[in-house]
Symmetry: C2
């Protein structure tokens, strides 16, 4: 059972739709996994998508919808009435996925869906989920879970589990609660399989269990689950009452999104942007950083302008302007990246002072090597001792300065609760460009 999306397959579906046989296209497509169906739909245009989705059976539509790109999903959701959404889509979804879809609707339609749900318990649960703040454990969790009372026996537990399992698609863990629904621990399937049926649960459950609060940040949930190798984590309220559970597959999405965001910031993209986005969206994500770079270039121009007289006397000084600027930027980004990753993995226990001292040592080693290299190369290429000395010394100073600056900025940003990954973008490159030129011309005017 494997599926590979090819252009031939897309053309085959497009031809069917064009020939007015969207039903056959849908039937063909529905042989595949909902994730595969979604992958195909993401590639088709709006008209084609709608032609196909009207023929996808209701029990499949929900699963496909939650896997789609947000903009494609939006197009489809608009074609549904609130009543249809309740009866054909939401009814077949887990509470977390249902809440995700509802959160994308306007208030009126949201209410229409909730009031049209046959199962009032389900409606209540979804409405509860919608109250949690974005990017918290509460917004990520689902309420479907299996729980047993610590006073029950293994036998009663198994029979209750059978009942509850009818409602729950996949059994991840069995939670043990007291009479007030306060989470006490978990029960392993292994224990259930290997313990006598008359044993009380309270004698066999595991009370060493990690849980998260509903207000815990998404990324903290990801960190905890990854660190402790957990497949599912229970979510509790401030009283310790069991509210829901978060599974690792949802947390993988959080991890991937976070990694993408850091990568994009480091590459000068201000927005989540994809290959398939429109030219306008891509421009919107790229232009802000370019304009910052532009301003940096203008400032750099005025720094050089202030040294015009010197440049007139020693035009060779201009030769190494790109080198000084580029190296300052490169070193700054390297230093920032190391700090940003350490912060993301929570592995910074050094004090800021120790960190900066170490960075200074690294900068010194790198700086001396690069300075000696450029000094030697410049002499060999016949740029003369004075210019070689100027470039070498300036490079050493720029590398050390950029190391410190690159380390310092993300630490400060993090302290003031700003995403430190911002520091690795064109920000630090631009600042280091300008400061590098200052240093270069200062040393140049001292030496010549």
């Amino acid at each position: 059972m494997s599926f590979e999306l090819t252009n031939e397959y897309l053309d085959f579906l497009r031809d069917l739709i064009e020939a007015g046989d969207a039903q056959k296209a849908a039937a063909e497509l529905c042989e595949h996994h909902p994730a595969d169906i979604a992958e195909v739909l993401d590639e088709l245009d709006e008209e084609e998508v709608l032609a196909i989705t009207t023929h996808i059976p209701p029990e499949l539509v929900g699963e496909v919808l939650i896997q789609l790109d947000e903009d494609v999903r939006k197009d489809i959701l608009e074609t549904y009435s609130g009543k249809q959404l309740a009866e054909e889509v939401v009814e077949n979804l887990d509470s977390d996925d249902a809440a995700d879809i509802l959160s994308e609707l306007d208030e009126e339609k949201k209410l229409e869906v909730l009031s049209n749900l046959e199962d009032i318990e389900q409606a209540k649960q979804i409405a509860n989920l919608l109250t949690h703040a974005e990017n918290t454990a509460g917004a990520l969790m689902a309420t479907e879970l299996i729980k047993v009372n610590h006073n029950w026996t293994v036998l009663r537990c198994v029979s209750e589990m059978r009942k509850q399992a009818e409602e729950v698609e996949q059994v991840h863990a069995v939670y043990v609660v007291d009479d007030n629904d306060v989470l006490l621990g978990s029960l392993s399937l292994k224990k259930l399989l290997t313990t006598s049926t008359r044993t009380p649960i309270k004698e066999v459950y595991n009370d060493k269990i990690h849980s998260v609060r509903s207000t815990t940040d998404n990324e903290e949930v990801a960190r905890i689950m990854n660190k402790y190798d957990m497949f599912v984590v229970p979510v509790v309220d401030d009283m310790g009452r069991l509210l829901g559970r978060i599974t690792l597959d949802d947390v993988v999405d959080v991890i991937v999104e976070e990694a993408d965001r850091d990568y994009q910031l480091a590459s000068g993209l201000s927005d989540d942007v994809e290959v398939n986005d429109s030219i306008f969206d891509i421009t919107k994500a790229r232009l802000p950083w370019l304009l910052i770079g532009l301003l940096g270039g203008v400032v750099a121009a005025s720094v050089i302008g202030q040294n015009e007289a010197e440049l007139g006397n020693i035009p060779q000084l201009a030769f190494f302007i790109p080198l000084i600027a580029a190296m300052g930027g490169n070193v700054g980004v390297q230093s920032s990246a190391i700090v940003v990753q350490a912060l993301a993995h929570q592995s910074v226990t050094d004090t800021a002072v120790r960190r900066l001292r170490k960075e200074l040592s690294v900068g010194l080693v790198n700086g001396i090597i690069c300075a000696l290299a450029i000094y030697g190369i410049s002499l060999v290429l016949g740029y003369g001792t004075k210019l070689a000395l100027t470039v070498g010394l300036a490079l050493l100073a720029v590398i050390m300065f950029a190391s410190l600056f690159g380390t310092f900025v993300p630490l400060v940003l993090n302290k003031y609760k700003v995403d430190p990954a911002l520091a690795t973008g064109p920000f630090i490159t631009t600042a280091n460009d300008v400061l590098g030129l200052f240093i270069y011309f200062a040393i140049g005017s001292a030496i010549f």
Copy 2:
């Protein structure tokens, strides 16, 4: 049950060790989860680590070892004999973790461990795991799993599961195989709980199951598990026989490592490097990219050198050298980053030609906006029409060129099976720096 690593806690342990009471420090530490213990040990120095680990009970040592940083683990492993490793560490570990630890030993010690394992079946399984190539599903999988024959009844199945569960720490899935051990499908716990005990397995198992070959690449495994929201994936050989299974927690590590590597490449770090690494290791990771940047700077210097006469006539041309160089680099990295992420998520279905055409449009829009901006700013700041026109036109050309180049390079690298993330490093920045200067001076000499 929550743990936070603080400097106070580290000092408290250090004081105990210094006072000769490492045993008490170990006892205190062992109250915590193995992942927490490992986190603490990663922060201590070698002597302190060894003082504590001798007091950690054998049944815990293995779990702690596999969570440690590789260099810390190496220090500890050296203090163990092969026999000790077999009896105290490997015996208590899952096959995948055991194989990971063995793969870090030299050949002689590896053999010593395997020959000292009491359970010959376990030794065979670990030896088998060690034959798989690095970064493949085979090297990532564990052999502990629960499998049932399709001819059995639910009753026999449950009783066999009870037996097998004694060997298996955590039950992730129940696999159904035929008499030749060929994987047929899986059995859900829900089905087991809700089906009559006399039903034959072949009537109730799910045959729509995704599996991976043992030779499948790690990252492909991660992509499949993430796409289909799988918690565990079975691994089969070329005949379809069930060899093992991979759980999502291990795949999360693959995803995080891959994201870190891409991020580091984009930031100009050639090696996996961490805040706590030595100055030598950090320098080793940073210096190669810096030297590439240095060479780029030298080439840029010679490009400018060739235009020395022109620069002597119009010294103002030097003002905008940093701007042209920086913008070329920024745009190139942006373009590459979008392609690299698309390749990582396998969402490139566009042909290369369509991709380049789109990138050209984005480059045109960004280029025109930036060119108009810098033209206006230059006029306002009094740099004169000719210089403003030169800078504006050069910037437009540089942005368009850098967009194309940044898109093209990762696509080509990927085609030739080189990690496309390489393109986002200082490579592309440096190349664009140099080419930007060419364009700038060419336009400058045409206009003035």
